[in-house]
Amino acid sequence: MTSGGGRVDRCRRQPTVSSALTKDQLLTMYRKMYLIRRFEERAGQQYGLGKIAGFCHLYIGQEAVAVGPVEAIREDDYMLSAYRDHGQPLARGSHAGMLMAELFGRDGGYSKGKGGSMHIFDIEKHFYGGYGIVGGQIPLGAGMAFASRYRNEDRVTVCYFGDAASNQGSFHETLNMASKWKLPVIYICENNRYGMGTAFNRVTAVHEVWKRAEAYGIRGEAVDGMDVLAMYDAVKRAAEECRAGKGPVLLEANTYRFRGHSMADPANYRTKQEVEEERKNDPIPRLQAHIQKNFKGVSDEVFETLRKEVNEEVDEAVKFADASPEPSLEELWRDTIVEEGEEDVKPRERVLGAKVDWPQLPGPKDFEVTWDLEPRDPPAEASKS
């Protein structure tokens, strides 16, 4: 896929496996990216109408960073992110209406409206949130990978965080442990160049996040985050390494958010030219161009139809959210503490009455722990360098 320019020079080129993707697979990716785009545009609009409040961080411009990895991993692999968290669940197939309902703070939302935009959780789809403390999810991701390794599951965990989050101590502490214990976790730093109003490079000594991998003895790689296929390739490779016990891996997705940090942010800290420059990299038309170049006869209509479908889906989502009631006041006293014998809540079952196959967690004796996290060695050995 041809580079849209930008910072591809910062990416180490690798052999691609994405070339094997079929037209349908590529169209699916296109559809997912456009779904995210449209969903976010409507969310922004609904925010303007006052139906969404608080902080709402849109994913517009970064769609490829969610869709590439989702297509590259298994459905049962774990994924989690920060508060800019609408893109990944949509890519994993979460119910757009229930997601919008969560943004509206309605009972029909994934968290009954308790979490809101920053705390999206869809456990059925193995999306584990949704965190508001910058860097706070980084150790969680390692812990989820620890659990998989502990139970001899060949699952990987994909943990997203922002460029600015890489300056948190949690990043340092976690990557050292993840490396030492060879945890199957893929860290994807979404470098959109800004932490709120502060350019990453203004407050960071070394501008390439992937270079920090070396300090932990793991593989780091820069990826063109505006190229969904580059993201797909990078994560496919990383996932294989992790499943082979060679993880973790640190990927730096060079991307850009076309909107402000949150709906509250006018983004005066960057120039019009800069934004226009980056918009030329828009991952969605880039994928369309790629498909049309590689598969003759995929007409513009095909894409128009797709977009029309998605637009309708998102209209439905807004309708769904509008129709959903506020949570009942009894909810005040639920979910702060798990009461004796209380079951977990299955959102699609609760809200849609759907039959869901909920992730079954192994019980006390459903597995043996065979992992030797630190093979014994004579004390003397331990202190050799």
């Binding site: 308790k114 502060t198 979910d335 702060t336």
Partner: protein
């Protein structure tokens, strides 16, 4: 007197103290070019330059400790916490270093530093972003804790905090930045540790601080219509507590309601209860009533968020309970 917004009053305090004393500098996330997440530092970068208005990376523990170190050798840092929810990451540097340096060094060192930023619910921000954490800091000797309600208090107390020789936790109301109020002209410094009787009354004493003050005023007005005269004591400083002012008002009204935004368990309100019952036991005509945030995690949903927080009706009900007029 000029009318200023709470954020403007804080901005004036910073501006005046930084002009007066080159040792004072501000460090935090977005304080410089962005002019502050809540615009408290508006314009200060242009006035004082990038060494005195320092844009920090998102490294709360690191830049807080860095500021503490600079205070040990004679600077007077003001550390802006974008919100106190995030400052939990920096708590070790505040309570294990700043609060203990004077003591560990046997009086050789002092640590004049202000940690300031918004506390309490900002509005539809869910559980991680809506915490009122003053009790966690008021617990520690070696710290002072301040939480102003009005623009005038915000300015006068911030100036005093910056001039104080000790670490001061300065908690602003996240939803107070835009409220307006009269602020005295010229040098306006309010000593730490002094409460303010913001409304005189004789039937019941309402003790509160920060944003809850406004709900108390609302409640007091409503009660007045019903012939109940409520006195409002705004603590302003939560450590050290102004026990004198508290007891004086209790002895006057013999009935007490304490209103705080945070959770009940081991909250600052509980400490005020203890002070009153131990020092004015025989002056209490009824149990002390507490109004506080519900003891649950804060939800994003509008109705749940509202129900979780104190408001005027809850305060009115509590006052009537204290007056044994439930059905009043």
């Amino acid at each position: 007197m000029t009318e200023l917004m709470y954020r403007e009053a804080l901005n004036e305090a910073l501006n005046e103290e930084m002009t007066r004393d080159n040792r004072v500098y501000l460090i935090g996330e977005e304080v410089g070019r962005y002019n502050g997440a809540f615009k408290v530092s508006q314009g200060l970068l242009d006035t004082f330059g990038s060494a005195r208005i320092v844009d920090a990376p998102i490294s709360e523990l690191g830049f807080t400790g860095l500021a503490v170190g600079s205070a040990m050798v004679g600077l007077r840092p003001v550390v802006e916490m974008m919100t106190w929810n995030f400052a939990i990451l920096a708590m070790d540097q505040i309570v294990n270093n700043a609060a203990k340096l004077r003591h560990m060094s046997g009086g050789q060192l002092r640590c004049p530093i202000v940690f300031r930023g918004p506390g309490g619910a900002g509005g539809r921000l869910s559980s991680q972003h809506s915490q009122a954490l003053e009790a966690n800091y008021a617990h520690f000797p070696g710290l002072k804790v301040v939480a102003p309600a009005t623009p005038a208090d915000a300015k006068g107390l911030l100036k005093a905090a910056i001039r104080d020789e000790n670490p001061v936790i300065f908690i602003e109301g996240e939803r107070l930045y835009a409220i307006k109020g009269e602020v005295p002209e010229g040098e306006h410094v309010i000593p730490l540790g002094k409460a303010d009787v913001k409304r005189e009354g004789k039937d019941v004493t309402i003790i509160t601080w920060s944003r809850m003050y406004y709900f108390c005023e609302e409640a007091a007005k409503a009660l007045e219509e019903e012939g109940i005269s409520a006195e409002i004591v705004d603590l302003r400083t939560l450590r050290p507590l102004d026990e004198e002012a508290i007891i004086a008002s209790v002895k006057k009204t013999n009935r007490v309601v304490i209103v705080e935004e945070g959770w009940p368990h081991s909250g600052v309100g509980a400490q005020v209860v203890d002070i009153i019952q131990s020092q004015a036991f025989d002056h209490l005509d009824a149990p002390i009533q507490r109004v506080h945030g519900l003891d649950v995690n804060m939800s994003y949903a509008a109705n749940l968020e509202a129900a979780t927080q104190p408001d005027a009706p809850k305060i009115i009900a509590a006052c009537k309970k204290a007056l044994y007029r439930e059905d009043g």
